[in-house]
C-alpha cells in the first residue's frame, strides 16, 4: 500500500533492465519500500541490475531491507503475461506502482529493408504493452488502488520520418495508455503516461542528441512528481509539452522540411 506521503511499498518494472525503468525504481525507493520486482528478458542482466539497485538502496542506513526480485518476462511472448503477472502478485502482494519500461527503438533504414523486423519491434512496443498493460490493469482494478506508469515517447506525439515505425508504435501505445487510464476512472487505479524526449540511455547510444535531451534520472524525477501530484500525463523535460503543442499543429509541408533527423 502507498502511504499518506505517496511512499510506495511495492514496485514492479517490466523491462527491468531499462535504464529509465531502473532510474524510476531507484527514485521511488524510500524507507517504506518493501519489494522491487524487475521483470526482464535477460535475467542475468536483471540480477546485475538488482545488485546495483540494492547497493544504491543499501547506502541508506535506515532503509529497511528492500527485497529485489528478478523474474523472467518477454514482452513479445504475450501468451505468458497472465501467468507472469499472477506469479508476481502472488509473491509480493499488492502492486503499488507498475512501470512498463520495455521497448526497442530499432533502425528505420533496417525496418525499411526488413518489414518483418519492423513487425517484431511493433509487437514488443505496442502489442506487448497492450497485453501486459491489460493484465496489470485488471490486477490494479481488483486491488482498488495502484498506478501503472507507461513509457510512451514524444516520438508518438507527432510521428516523424526518421523513425516512423518506432514513432507509430509509441503513438498507438500512447493512445492505448490514455484510454486504459480513462477506463480505470473510479476504480482507485490509474495510469500515468510518460512522454520523454531524447534520453541518454543504452537505447540512444551513439545517436546525435535531439534538442532538450535529458537523462534517466531527470525522467525519474518527473515521474515521481507526476505520481505525487496524481497527474495523468507528464513530459520529460516539461518544456516538451509546449514544443509539441506547436509541432503538432505545424502544416505537413513545413513539418516534413524540419531538420528533425
Amino acid at each position: 500500500m502507498q502511504n499518506a506521503l505517496g511512499e510506495i511499498q511495492t514496485i514492479a518494472v517490466f523491462g527491468g533492465t531499462s535504464e529509465i525503468g531502473l532510474a524510476i525504481a531507484r527514485r521511488l525507493i524510500t524507507p517504506s519500500t518493501r519489494t522491487v520486482v524487475l521483470a526482464c528478458r535477460d535475467v542475468d542482466a536483471g540480477a546485475r541490475a538488482a545488485a546495483d539497485l540494492g547497493r544504491d538502496a543499501g547506502t541508506d542506513p535506515v532503509m529497511e531491507a528492500v527485497t529485489i526480485e528478478v523474474v523472467a518476462f518477454d514482452a513479445a511472448d504475450t501468451d505468458s503475461h497472465l501467468q507472469v503477472v499472477a506469479e508476481i502478485a502472488d509473491t509480493v502482494g499488492d502492486l503499488d506502482v507498475v512501470v512498463l519500461a520495455f521497448g526497442v527503438l530499432g533502425d528505420q533504414a533496417e525496418f525499411d529493408a526488413d518489414p518483418a523486423a519492423a513487425v517484431g519491434a511493433v509487437h514488443v512496443n505496442y502489442t506487448g504493452a497492450v497485453s501486459v498493460g491489460l493484465v496489470v490493469a485488471d490486477v490494479l482494478r481488483r486491488q482498488g488502488h495502484g498506478r501503472l506508469v507507461v513509457l510512451s515517447s514524444v516520438a508518438g506525439e507527432r510521428v516523424r520520418k526518421a523513425n516512423f515505425v518506432y514513432g507509430s508504435s509509441k503513438a498507438g501505445l500512447d493512445g492505448f495508455a490514455q484510454g486504459l487510464g480513462d477506463s480505470l476512472e473510479g476504480s482507485g487505479a490509474s495510469v500515468l503516461v510518460v512522454r520523454p524526449g531524447f534520453v541518454h540511455s543504452r537505447m540512444t547510444e551513439g545517436l546525435a542528441a535531439a534538442p532538450f535531451a535529458t537523462d534517466p534520472d531527470s525522467v525519474a524525477e518527473v515521474v515521481a512528481r507526476g505520481l505525487r501530484q496524481g497527474r495523468r500525463t507528464v513530459w520529460a523535460p516539461g518544456v516538451l509539452r509546449y514544443v509539441f503543442m506547436v509541432l503538432r499543429h505545424l502544416p505537413g509541408a513545413v513539418y516534413r522540411r524540419l531538420p528533425l533527423g
Binding site: A4, S32, R34, G188
Partner: protein, 468 residues
Amino acid sequence: MSDTLRIVRPSLTTRLTGWGRTAPVVGDVVEVTAADASAVVVDAPGRGVIARGLGRSYGDAAQNAGGQVLRLCDATGGMVLDAQAGTVTVGAGIDIDRLLRVIVPAGFFVPVTPGTRFVTIGGAIASDIHGKNHHVDGSFGRHVRRMSLLLADGSVVEISPDSDAELFWATVGGMGLTGVILDATIALLPIETSRLAVETRRVADLDTLLTLMSEGDHLYRYSVAWIDLMATGASLGRSVLTWGDHARLDQLDDRTAADPLAFGARQLVAVPPLVPTPGVVNRLTAGVFNEFWYWSTPRHRVDEIQTIPAYFHPLDAVGSWNRLYGRRGFVQYQFMVPFGAEGTLRTVVERIATSGASTSLNVLKRFGAANPAPLSFPRAGWTLTLDLPASWRPMADLMHELDRLVLGAGGRHYLSKDAVTTPDSIRRGYPRLPEWQAVQRRVDPNGRWQSDLGRRLELVDPPRSEQT
C-alpha cells in the same frame, strides 16, 4: 446472499480515505443492520472485509482497497441506559454525540472522550481511544464491561474481561481486525453538572510544562497542553496548559444551575468542499494562529466554567475542518515515549520547530498506565500529536527521522492516526504484536478481516486463496 437480507445501502464502489484525506482507495461500502452483518461477512469477496465507523481515524484503518467496508447502520442496536448500574448498552454504530445527548441530561458522561464527539462506539473500542483523563481513568477499553463480536465465520460471541479475556483484549485496540463489534456495555461516569471547571495557564517553555504536568496532573481528572511547535529558542515548547474537572453544582452561577445538565452541542459553520488545492494552512497562517492562541490566553485563569463541547470538542464547531488542508490532505503524527525519555521528547520538539513545518493543532498529554490490550497505544509516558499538510515535501524525511528517535526511546505510534510509518516500526513499538497475531489467527484463520492499515503495516496475513 439470502433473499431476506436487509442491506440498508447496497454495495457501492466508493472512494475512501481517513480523516486526513490522504491515500484514497476504492472499495465496496455496505451499510447493514447489526442483525444482517453476519450474512454479509460470510459472503465477503476475496479481499475481505473491515468495519468502518465515522472514518475519524486519520489514516487507512477503516478502508479496504478492492474489498468490502462494512458500516453498521446506527438506527439499530439502540441504547439502554441502566442508571442504577451506571452503564449503557449501545449499538456499536452509534456515535458519542448521540450518546451524550441521552446520557448527559440523565447525569452521566462517557468514561473517555476523544477530541471529537463524532466517533462510534465500535471505533472507540477498536482504537482503544484515550482522552484528557488517561492519567486518571485509562483508555476506553477499561470501561467496557462486555461486547458482542461478529466473527469471521459469521457467528457472534459475547466477550468480556472475564469471558474469553484474550479475545476481549485483542479486540480492544484491535483495529477491527478480530471482528465486527455489534454492541457493548460501557460503564459511565456520574456527573452533577454538564459543565467543567477549568484552569488555564500560559507556559513559557517545554521544561516548565513537563514539570507542571508531572507535579500537577494528578490533582485534576483532565489535563492536556496545546503546544506551539513552531516556536524556537527560549520559547521552545511554549504552550497553553488546561486542567479541568466536572463542575459541581455549587460551582455554577444561578442561571446555569437552573438547568445543570443541559447539553446542546451545535455545529456553527462548515468548511465548503472547495478549498484551493494547496489548502489554507501554511507557514504564515499556522504561525499567526499559534501566536494568537498563545498570547490570547491569560497567564493564569482558574475556575472558568466551560461547556462539554467547548472543553472537549472545540473542533466539532467547524464541520469538515479537515478540508482546510486542501486536496492533498494532511497527516497527523502521534507517538508516545515512556517517562524517562524526556530528552528524546525535547529533541523531537526541537527537530519539528526547526524543520520549517507549518503546524498548529498540536497537543501534549501525560499518559497513565497501560491496560492489558496488546495493541493498545497508551502506556505510561508522554504523547505528542501534530498535524502536517501532506503536500509539505520535507515531511517524509522528518517523519522517518522522528520514527527513529521515538523507537530508539522505547516509544510507539498510534495506529488510528498512523498513515506514514512502516511494518518494522510497528513491530518494534508493539513488542506484543506476535501475541495479538496469535489470537487474531485463532479467530480468523482465513484472513477475512482485511484493511489497508493491516496490509500496509503487515498486522494480518493476506487472505487465504480458497476464499477468492
